[in-house]
Symmetry: C2
Subunit: 550 residues, 2 copies
């Protein structure tokens, strides 16, 4: 162990629920390597994402800013040119930021063209890739349908499979995400196939491939200089299908009971109701779907855990464990039928909370190794944590999160936040159409404190409220309850205060502004001055003498 | 007159009060040319700026966005790279935007360097100049003091004076803004000299010079293509000194009584109190100061009006009056001792309201010529007005104002806004220091509707409220009055709603988002699908067939 953090390994899984780790209490899924990291570091049991969906959540992780501050509020909304990323902040500190895997970044092509930024220039590429230099960008969704393809991105993983001799245009789908059902293609896009083994050698599937790519990076010359590497796995995100031996490692008996209650379907809030009624909500309400899908989801996580073991072994044997901060988290969770919902999108705990483990190699963090911290932390806290870990001053006029280093050292700041915020934009969803909403009214804001989860929905709806002290599983929506008027008022006041936050004055720091106080007369602008007696002799000196002649 | 607007002449004065035009009711100041324009167009009697200070007000005029949306919240705060300006929007419509005069724009040098934008490239120059191509940039403040100069900008006006043989480094100050007091330099920075004639031929002073520069532009090849020209005068902004014959055209008898009341100084709101106690507040509380300064201010306006006559005559004689939209406004007002205050900064009507006259040459505007419109309009309405005037679709996911064209045609939209918003950031002021505030807490938000003016101050203060129906002069602060609880609640609710507005999702339009609804399965991403029966045969077709072999 050393006194200085040299590198930062920022590991992200996709759609990994906060409670699907054995160290977080899962009863039938054993994740010894995640637990091993938790034993070495500090696990946060109340880590919230800024938006429970890939794209907007990640843009908040990478910018350190709330969704309504950076504006990339849903998958595919381009992050506008000019938004700073953690890569920009770290580069000032001499640290390069590398991408190995998924970002879900959509470049602002129009903004780049307006500013003449070529995507193939060094600066343009970083702008297009969310501030990262790209080792491998692999977003991992290569779908095709009647109206074309989902995304036009190049897939290094498909290249890899092709190089191994996997045939076809899209071996990602045909092998890694499909089974062989007695000679018939069993696509992972159909959940009935979740129990099939993916038609690929396990070693060739996405998670082992990306793990090896990360090790290649660390072994490379690029990995020899100080770095922050974002190792961003595609899994356990759907398609829910996994190669042998993980495909039948778990069965229906390993599936935990759904966290749901009939009351949730009785006169639900219109937005909740629309999501319950969506195809994915309807599907995950079925027990047979849960029994088929969840074992595959668990298998995917088990594979992730095994590969984390490979990675941790490499870090230990290479000596990197001694000088590398390791972060493990996810971009959002997965309802899996809880609350009669599938996917993520909304703000119940299985969706909006994520695992977060941070290992700090320095002795300063010894006090918290193996501990669990229940402070309210947010995805946007990572960017300032990284800046501070690399010795920088956190630019708190840009970054809206707070460094977690004090918590890692076992010190809880007195003024720590008392609520977290998450947002969701469903303007592009069929639910928006069903509810008859204008795109700009499809915005949800969630505030959660230690006890309550409050959700404000634009568009004229009443709020949603859960009291997690009396209702830890969030079954009973108190948003219309007279009994909770005071709580609703309190949360509404907090939302108003948060909404007025200073999020766009990003070109001047607090220190720069302080330094300007009282200075204008010193540079000659004298406002409200009657005569020389109102200013210092030095100030007056600049404006006296003989009247000049032309 | 024609059916199409070819050019837009966007005239701005600096620090011109809304009520210092004879058409707006001033009793002793006659402005026949402003009145002439008002007779040809529509005058708005409730036009509010987004911030009562030069820089942030102008950034809102030019971006069409509220101050907390663009972030350049005070003079000298750089407008961040990536913010779109009216120039960007008009260029898409084949219209160039030219600057002739002042913008108070501070370029985001750090952001430009980060993106590799050279200030001397075409794109870089536009980014640095707030989206304009520069005919002349002349911000008009060339001050010097013990700690250096205010701004390092080049002054084309100083070049002009030098070319005429005016000596010295800063003839702007020594001649245009100073008098000759019996052989002694009588600097305009000292208000005691306000009654002196500026030591310059009237024809060489700033306003006639800039008027000629505008005529030169329109006569030039650049002026031959369709344009929006921002003719942005430096005056009647301080220094309060004007050349003969304007220096003694008005005297103390022409000064209107101060709009103020002793009650305003009794236990004022802390922020108001701090501004009253500032040097400029103290100075303008003095009758001798008002008697000396206001006649000079009126002389400056009279000179502006005479030069407007020159300009209007040119437009008529050149035929440009037939195809040019003309806008006349100001960036903010001037307290001039009203409410025991000087300068601008706060939100009483003399500060936050501005003159606004729009002349639309098309027959569609005939119905409103010479009329006065009392609708609540904002500075941010001009950018969308210009876009629509040039046939464009207003990008309402970026521009936060509304086109005024319907109002010019005599139609009041049913859903017109019922309140306006203005903001102010005093983080760099001595008042912030006196009040012991962190920079981020030095933020004020004003909401004004047809009756009330409500001001929210961050930093833990109570709000300020004026009831302009019972107290048209805004003497009695009801912010702490139990009688007004309902009004305060209403305004607080409006502020909360406004603060949650969607201001940063600027890379996707409403139409683009609507078009994406229901589309994901068509491009192959099938979420929550159990089997082929859950999708269309076309969608399913992409994922069936024989399982491939490696």
């Amino acid at each position: 162990m050393v006194d200085e953090i040299r590198n930062i390994l920022f590991i992200m899984y996709d759609q990994l629920r906060h409670d699907y780790l054995s160290c977080a209490g899962h009863k039938t899924l054993h994740t010894p390597h995640m637990d091993r990291l938790a034993g070495m570091g500090l696990r946060f049991s109340n880590a919230y994402v800024q938006s429970p969906v890939c794209g907007s959540s990640r843009m908040s992780f990478y910018t350190g800013r709330y969704v309504s501050s950076h504006g990339a509020a849903y998958n595919g909304y381009p992050l506008k040119v000019g938004e700073l990323t953690v890569g920009d902040h770290l580069r000032k500190l001499g640290v390069d930021s590398w991408l190995i895997g998924k970002t879900h970044m959509q470049a602002d092509a129009e903004g780049m063209a307006r500013l003449g930024l070529a995507p193939d220039s060094v600066i343009g590429a970083r702008v297009a890739e969310c501030g990262f230099d790209v080792w491998d960008r692999e977003d991992g969704l290569y779908a095709h349908g009647p109206k074309g393809r989902y995304g036009a991105a190049h897939s290094p993983y498909n290249d890899y499979l092709s190089s191994l001799g996997y045939p076809g245009e899209n071996p990602w789908h045909d092998f890694a995400n499909a089974g062989d059902d007695g000679g018939d293609l069993a696509s992972g896009w159909f959940m009935k196939n979740a129990g099939q083994a993916a038609n690929i050698a396990e070693d060739h599937s996405e998670t082992p491939w990306l793990t090896r790519r990360a090790i290649d990076f660390m072994d490379s010359a690029e990995g020899a200089a100080p770095w922050m590497a974002h190792l961003s796995f595609i899994k356990p995100h759907w398609p829910y299908i996994v190669p042998a031996p993980y495909h039948n490692m778990y069965g229906p008996d390993d599936v935990q009971p759904a966290i749901r209650h009939e009351v949730e379907r009785q006169n639900p809030h219109p937005v909740l109701g629309a999501y319950q009624a969506s195809p994915v909500g309807q599907a995950f309400a079925r027990d047979d779907v849960r029994a088929a899908v969840i074992p595959a989801y668990m298998g995917l996580i088990k594979q992730c855990d095994d590969q984390l073991g490979v990675l941790l072994d490499y870090l230990e044997s290479s000596g990197r464990m001694d000088d590398t901060m390791i972060v493990l988290t996810s971009d959002h969770g997965d309802y899996l039928g809880d609350h009669w919902l599938g996917e993520k999108d909304l703000f119940h705990q299985p969706s909006v909370k994520v695992p977060l483990i941070i290992y700090d190699p320095r002795p300063s963090a010894n006090a918290t190794r193996g501990q669990v911290c229940d402070a309210l932390v947010e995805a946007i806290d990572l960017a300032p944590t990284f800046v501070e870990a690399k010795g920088g001053q956190v630019p708190d006029h840009i970054l809206e999160g707070r460094s977690l280093l004090p918590l890692l050292a076992g010190q809880m700041p007195d003024d720590w936040r008392d609520f977290v915020v998450s947002e969701y934009d469903y303007a592009t969803s069929p639910m928006a159409e069903k509810l008859g909403l204008e795109p700009r009214d499809c915005r949800l804001f969630m505030l959660a404190d230690a006890r309550y989860t409050y959700i404000h929905a634009e568009g004229g709806f009443r709020p949603i409220l859960f009291d997690r002290e009396t209702d830890p599983e969030e079954f009973f929506d108190r948003g219309g309850s007279a009994e909770y008027t005071d709580v609703l008022d309190m949360m509404q006041g907090r939302l108003a205060r948060w909404a007025r936050r200073m999020s766009q004055r990003t070109t001047q720091s607090e220190a720069q502004l302080r330094a300007r106080r009282n200075s204008s007369a010193d540079i000659g602008v004298m406002i409200g001055v009657w005569d020389e007696r109102d200013v210092t002799p030095e100030q007056a000196a600049y404006y006296k003498g003989a009247a000049p002649r032309k």
